[in-house]
Every structure is written in C-alpha cells, then in structure tokens.
Symmetry: C2
Subunit: 331 residues, 2 copies
C-alpha cells in the first residue's frame, strides 16, 4: 500500500479511502492516479492487516463430530453455500467427539479470530460453552443441545424421530423391537433422546422395554452385535437404526447374511440416505430436513454477527419427515 501511495504520489490514507470506496475525500484525478498505480503494481490488499484493525475476519468455523457421516457433509455443503453468499468463508474441523480436542480446536479458532462458530457440542464441555457465552462469543449449536446453556441451537426433534421410527414398526404389529445406537455413555443428546422416543413409543403400546434389545456400540462392532442379538430365540422382528452409518452397516450385514427384508426382519432408519432408496427393498426412514437445519443455523449465526448481540437465544427443533417405503412387514 505504501508503494501504491508513492507511485500515485498521494498518502497511504488516501489509498485506503480509495480501496474502501470512500470517494468523497478525493478528486477524480486522484482516483484515477491510484487506480493506475494499483494496476501497475498488481497490488492487492492484505486482509489480515485489515482484520487486525477491524477486529473481524469474515471467517466462521464449522466444527462437527465427524466428517464421515452423510449428515455432517450435507450440512456442511448447505452451510458453506449460505456463508459464501454472505461473503464469509468457512473453516472446518472434526472433533471425533473428543471433548478435549473440541476445546483445543475452538480455542485455536478463537485465537485465529473467527467471527463465530457452529458446532456439534459434547456434554462434557458445558462449562466451557457457558464461558464462551458469557464472553459473548457467537456460537450456534447444531444437531445437539446442552441443557442450561444459553446458546441457540438448531436440530432435529430427536425424541420424536425415535418415537416415530418405533411407532412405524409398532403400527404394523411388531412387539419385539430392537434399536441400534452409538454409545450412550457420552451423554450426547441426539443419541439419548432418540432412545427416549423409542421407550415412549413402546410405553404407548404397553410394551415393556427389554434392555437386551438395545445395542449401543461403535460402527465397527455392529456386525457382531447384530449377529448375537438376532440369533437369540426371542430375537426382535424389527430394528430401528438411529443414524445413517448404523443403517449402512446393518444393510451390509443383512446382505452378507442373506436375510430377507422385510420378511425375516423389518427395518426403519433415521437419516435418509440415497442407499435407503436404492436398496431392495427400499428402506423406510425418517429424514432430517438437513437443508432447513443448515440454513437456519447459518442464518442464526449471521444474525448474531450482524446485531452484535449474543442476546439471541432461539432453539429450533425440526420434525423428522417420514419416508414410507417397503422395509416393514405387517404382522
């Protein structure tokens, strides 16, 4: 910029005015001189320097649990597009649900002066987020919720999703229903609430829950867990798969074991994915309105950035969308 100023024979300040299109302090001759100088020198401004002074970077961070689920990736695509249109860039990271990694990533992003964060939070970091909120740092929770933390959140109505998935099986006469979920020990609301919905649905149909029917494991254990559950003498006749990864693993297992769906086993998935529709038979699922969730979260954060008030506390829970297909046998 100094070079441009010298070349155009004006001051640095004037060049800065020019770059910010504040032409009122400038004759058209000066304007032209600067334009030429910039052109000749191939000058382009350093956004970092600007950010330092102005205390904003027009960068936001999207921190998800994993980048290997379709859900996160579609969310990312949606969010990126909203922010790109708003002139923001998106920086990403995956925590693999490791709370300390989550904290260190967020701290490093804040050190990098991102303007805001959209994150899949974990329960263990409740205090950490509370502090962020007190410091009025703009954060939006997505996919998950932390009770008693005043940070806006956008997510699926998970209890309802668990409930409706289970009800689809119950309505067709299934009494003995299994459910597969990622580990419940981490207290991740998504998981806990889907299970709660499952319990509620059973209760509504006056069915006692059988804890042996709840498989809580990592994706690489789905195979053995399913095999051992399904070979029991009173094995469930229907299964709820609580996310896309678990549905995928289950379908792989189904193929390998040549199990007939829905005659030998009925299935319902949460998260709609392309292979649910391409499988034979097509799998009934409860879809998350991913685009709605992503757009809402992005706009919420943009609003927080614009109003500069972290006073916004809005919580959105979206209803799941039933995709009725052919993976449930009527008993």
């Amino acid at each position: 910029m100094k070079d441009v100023a010298e070349q155009a024979d004006v001051s640095k300040s004037t060049v800065s005015q020019y770059l910010n299109k504040r032409y009122s302090y400038m004759s058209s001759a000066t304007r032209e001189k600067i334009r030429v100088a910039i052109e000749e020198l191939g000058y382009y401004p350093n956004q970092i320097a600007k950010s330092l002074k102005q205390k904003n970077t027009h960068v936001i961070a999207f921190i998800c649990a994993t980048l290997s689920s379709r859900f996160s990736l579609e969310l990312l695509a949606t969010i990126e597009s909203v922010f790109q249109d708003a002139g923001y860039s998106v920086i990403i990271a995956a925590t693999e649900d490791d709370p300390s990694k989550e904290r260190s990533l967020i701290n490093s992003f804040i050190a990098r002066q991102v303007d805001g964060i959209i994150v899949f939070p974990t329960e263990e970091n409740r205090d950490f987020y509370q502090k962020l909120q007190q410091r009025k740092f703009p954060v939006v929770f997505i996919d998950r919720l932390l009770d008693n933390v005043e940070i806006p959140s956008v997510l699926l109505d998970n209890k309802r999703a668990g409930y409706e998935a289970t009800r689809e099986l119950l309505k067709q006469g299934h009494q003995n229903i299994g459910i597969v979920t990622f580990p419940l020990g981490d207290n991740i609301t998504t998981r806990v609430e889907r299970i709660q919905g499952y319990k509620q649905a059973l209760a509504k149909f006056n069915i006692e829950m059988n804890t042996a029917n709840v498989i809580s494991c990592l994706s690489n254990q789905v195979d053995t867990e399913l095999t051992s559950l399904l070979k029991q003498k009173n094995a469930p006749t229907g299964l709820v798969l609580t996310n896309d990864i678990l549905l995928e693993k289950t379908l792989m297992w189904v193929k390998r074991h040549h199990i007939k769906i829905p005659n030998e086993l009925s299935l319902v998935g949460i998260d709609d994915v392309v292979f649910a529709q391409l499988f034979d038979p097509e799998i009934t699922t409860l879809a998350q309105p991913i685009t709605k969730i992503g757009v809402r979260a992005a706009k919420l954060l943009l609003k927080m950035l614009a109003t500069d008030s972290s006073l916004i506390v809005e919580d959105y829970q979206y209803a799941p969308v039933l995709k009725q297909r052919n993976s449930i046998k009527s008993l």
Copy 2:
C-alpha cells in the same frame, strides 16, 4: 499482551519470548510472574497479529468443484485430518465449476493470506494459475490437470479408468457400449480423459465408436437422456457411468423403469460408493484410491510450505482399483 506485561512488571518483548517458549532470556522468577499474570488475566494471544508479522497463517484452502459428490467430501475428510495433525486449519469453498467464481474465491483466500491452496482447477483459468505459479504461491491441483502449467497434481489415471471400465464390458462380449459423462464442453480433463480411455478400449477391440452412445449431460438430465438412448432399436447393452453422481442417477432410473441388471443392461461405474455395494445386484466399479490421493495432495502441499520452494513439480496419477461385482452380463 501489554496488560500482561504491566501486570507481571516486565516488557512486552519478554512476554512474547515467554509465549514462544524461548526461556533462555529469562530467569525462572520472571517466568513464573508471567505465567501468573497470564492466568489471572485469562489472556490468550491474537493469532492474527502474529500472522501479520510472520507472514503465515497456518491455514490452507481446499477449493472443490462441488460439495455434493461423495468423492469431494471423502477427499475433504482425508485432507482435513492430515492438516489438522500438522497444525493447519482448512478453509473450504465450492466453485460449482464456474471459472470466475473460482478466481474470485482464490483471490479472496490469497488476500486472507492462506499459506497454500488445493484446488480442482478448470481449464479456463490456465493463465491465472500460471501467474500464481510465477508468484511462487503454493498450489496443488487435485482430481484434474492443466497441461503446460507447472503446478504439481494428484489425481486418478482417468484415461486408464475409462479404459478399464469399458474393457470390463468388452471382455464379457459387449460390443455396443454407452457412456454417460458430465458436459465435455468445459474441457475438464477428468471427463475428457475418461472418454479417451473409453475410445481406446473400443479401438483395441476393433469397434467403431458411435457418438450417439455418448451421453454428455448434467445430472438432472440423466433420466431423459437414458430413456431416449435405451429405447432405440440398437441400444447399447452396457453402460459406463463416469462418476458417482451419474451412477446414482442411473440406478434411480433403473429402479423406476424396472430394468433388470445385468440381464437387460450391464453397468460399470467409476468411483466406488457404498450404494454400489448395497444395490442388488452389486455394481462393478473402478474405485479411486481417495485416501491415497488426499493424503498425497496434502503432504505435497505441506512439503511445498516447508521447503518454501515452489520448485516442486510432481505429478501423481493413481491407478483405479477394480471392484468386480455382478452388474455385467456375459454375452
């Protein structure tokens, strides 16, 4: 930092030394005083200010054509993980193959002082990249190549993928083979070379290419194009789908029209995706070694950043991996 310095009753310089763990200029008493002051003030350093002086940000950009293909997203997951381990953050964007958007995104990332870029380049921006290379700005091409531009690239051996996919059909006796690709007009090497491979395979088997068998369209036109191609009297008996999105659209079309695979139509896809394995029958594909490609590109860029020399010109073309399944009928 000034506050910390005052609180600890030392100079700003000393605090800076402390933060950078250059303890040699410091007594242990001073060290402790600074530690306490930082603790008390809850101070954390501003990375932007550091970047301004040090001229690096430890941020790189990943610019892909679209975030809706499985391929890009898996690549992203891989790349993000390598860079996270190396202490870098990844900023992302999608160009939708719009060359001017591509340029403006890259310019804005450079203005933001990213340390390097991994990009899916488009032909039209050849000159633009040439200039970047002359300025020694670290760029790695991924998935695609630009002839006569000395920028390292990491990609599938696309010609070979097209060749092998076609050969699988030819080997089973197919003579009349169609291929579906995204528009060829944009000169995107991935597309062009896969078609070249297709031609070469046909030539090898002494078969004249029939241009009517080449469908070049966007994903929302696949349906009508396939319908019109396949209803002709000498319709192809086998089809090569040149990427995951086209395979998905084709499988949807197949289901809707109740076409028996492979009896009524044989299929081979390029890009292995989970639904290829879950479909009935399982679809034969040529997989890209996505992890290898991603890791290689990431490490290449890291190397360029470390050696500070844009003198590295390495081109990697990875062989596709045949996943032989049951979607080809033997004639």
